[in-house]
Amino acid sequence: MPKETPKNIISLKDIHASFWIHNHGINSVKDYLMSFGLKKPFIRKHVLKGINLEINKGECFGLLGRNGSGKSTLLRVIAGIMPIDKGELSVKGKVAPVLALGVGLEPELSGHENIKIAGVLMGLTKSEIKKCRAFVSEFSELSDDDLKMQVKRYSTGMMLRLSFSIAVSNHPEILIIDETLAVGDQGFQGKCVARINELINGGSTVILVTHSTEEIKKMCDRAACIKDGEIQIVGEVEEVTNYYTNIFK
């Protein structure tokens, strides 16, 4: 009998998060000094305004929303990268590196070296990294020559292949994908979907951000739509995708 695990692996209660951004008109120390401290150098830009969300273990959860609605910030909050101002956050599981384009790879280093660095930062041991390396070269279909090349010479599709393969190599408990799959070619997209399904069957939880309602319908169990830092609707995929499509009508 497997140990009873709580149903919701991720739980957010009234989460607020904000960016500290430079105050308008002040973007250098000089301007700040010239205002003799009258202007505040930083202002708070509220991005997430009271998010309530529960994500269950083993589900594929879709997240929709216009550009700038706070999706990526929400993902970073879940990944523990973005500090929260207020609210209760509970994430019961290890989060794999957030998959977003051009993020997480060191452009000056080769593919092989990037696997090592990413692996180390994910907390893998030496032998796990070795396994990860074998998995990546098999799954990404990047040749050994490609992997020896500096990542700055990669195409976006190749970068996706590399970072996706690294992130899914070690059976992550929580996998977060931020609008990246669309870059891959048809063959690789199919492979990604298959791997994601495999991971979900193995007990992983996946959060998928995309603008393709087709992708959400194909892969997700549930979805949510976010607008201006607030969740507008959570529920069945059909319902949420319809809601999302209607925003643009």
């Binding site: 951004i21 990944a79 990268i81 500090p83 993020v103 090592k116 930062l121 907390g123």
Partner: protein, 250 residues
């Protein structure tokens, strides 16, 4: 603990690799700058300061550590911003990057002891057992360099001007520190100003060990230890305070 050492070791190795990537001469580049300075100084100043016995040795004993300080601080200041891509995707403590930047530069310093050591012998360096004191002295200087640089590093995430400003001020600090000259050439009534420069005390420390071959005075040891611990503590404190806002400003 072992896992952390493994992480730090791997990233340090990456930094060392990156430093010499795309360059044919690799490590030797890091020797070139101090060598050029040494050549210039010996050429210009050895006649200007005839009181200093064995001027080349006098200059090199400080120059090596200035080079370490300036390289480390540049690397540390940029370490966090240049890892923004990684920090936006993986939840790891950001302090890893300044630490490993320092480690890579320290590795470089130790490596450069070999050619510089040979050069010093050529200039007439004859060390006694006191030379071993260089180990605690370097450790203390590491703490200072780290503490000082992470303050600028943290501020630089918010305002890139800070890094640029620091790059511009560095040559001024170089000449303000008695590296190419002895602080005794400064009129006595102004000498107290020099003592406000923390680097002055470290230069004195390294010189007393490597140039004068003597045990540093207990006053000097006390001053540098206090400076190192203060800057290290202050640096960590400020860095921790500012770290929360990093993600907003990458």
């Amino acid at each position: 603990m072992r896992a952390q050492i493994y992480i730090l070791g791997t990233i340090t190795a990456k930094n060392i690799k990156l430093k010499y990537k795309n360059s044919v001469l690799g490590f030797f580049w890091s020797l070139l700058t101090p060598m050029v300075y040494l050549g210039i100084f010996t050429f210009i100043f050895s006649n200007a300061f005839p009181d200093i016995e064995n001027y080349s040795l006098y200059a090199i004993t400080a120059l090596v550590f200035w080079t370490y300080f300036s390289n480390s601080s540049i690397q540390i200041v940029n370490s966090v911003i240049s890892s923004a891509g990684i920090l936006k995707s993986v939840n790891v403590p950001t302090i890893i990057f300044p630490i490993t930047a320092l480690m890579a530069e320290t590795f470089n310093l130790i490596l450069s002891f070999v050619p510089f050591g040979l050069l010093m012998f050529y200039f007439g360096f004859s060390p006694g057992l006191e030379v071993l004191l260089i180990i605690p002295a370097v450790l203390s200087f590491m703490l200072f360099t780290f503490g000082f640089s992470i303050i600028i590093c943290a501020l630089n995430v918010f305002y890139r001007d800070v890094g640029i400003l620091w790059g511009t001020l560095m040559p001024a600090l170089f000449y303000f520190t008695p590296i190419a000259y002895s602080y005794e050439v400064i009129p006595i009534s102004y000498q107290w100003i020099v003592k406000f420069n923390p680097l002055f005390h470290y230069v004195e420390l390294f010189r007393s060990i490597l140039y004068y071959n003597e045990m540093p005075s207990s006053e000097l040891i006390l001053i540098t230890t206090v400076l190192s611990l203060t800057f290290f503590g202050l640096g960590l404190l400020i860095y921790k305070r500012l770290e929360r806002g990093f993600i907003s400003n990458f």
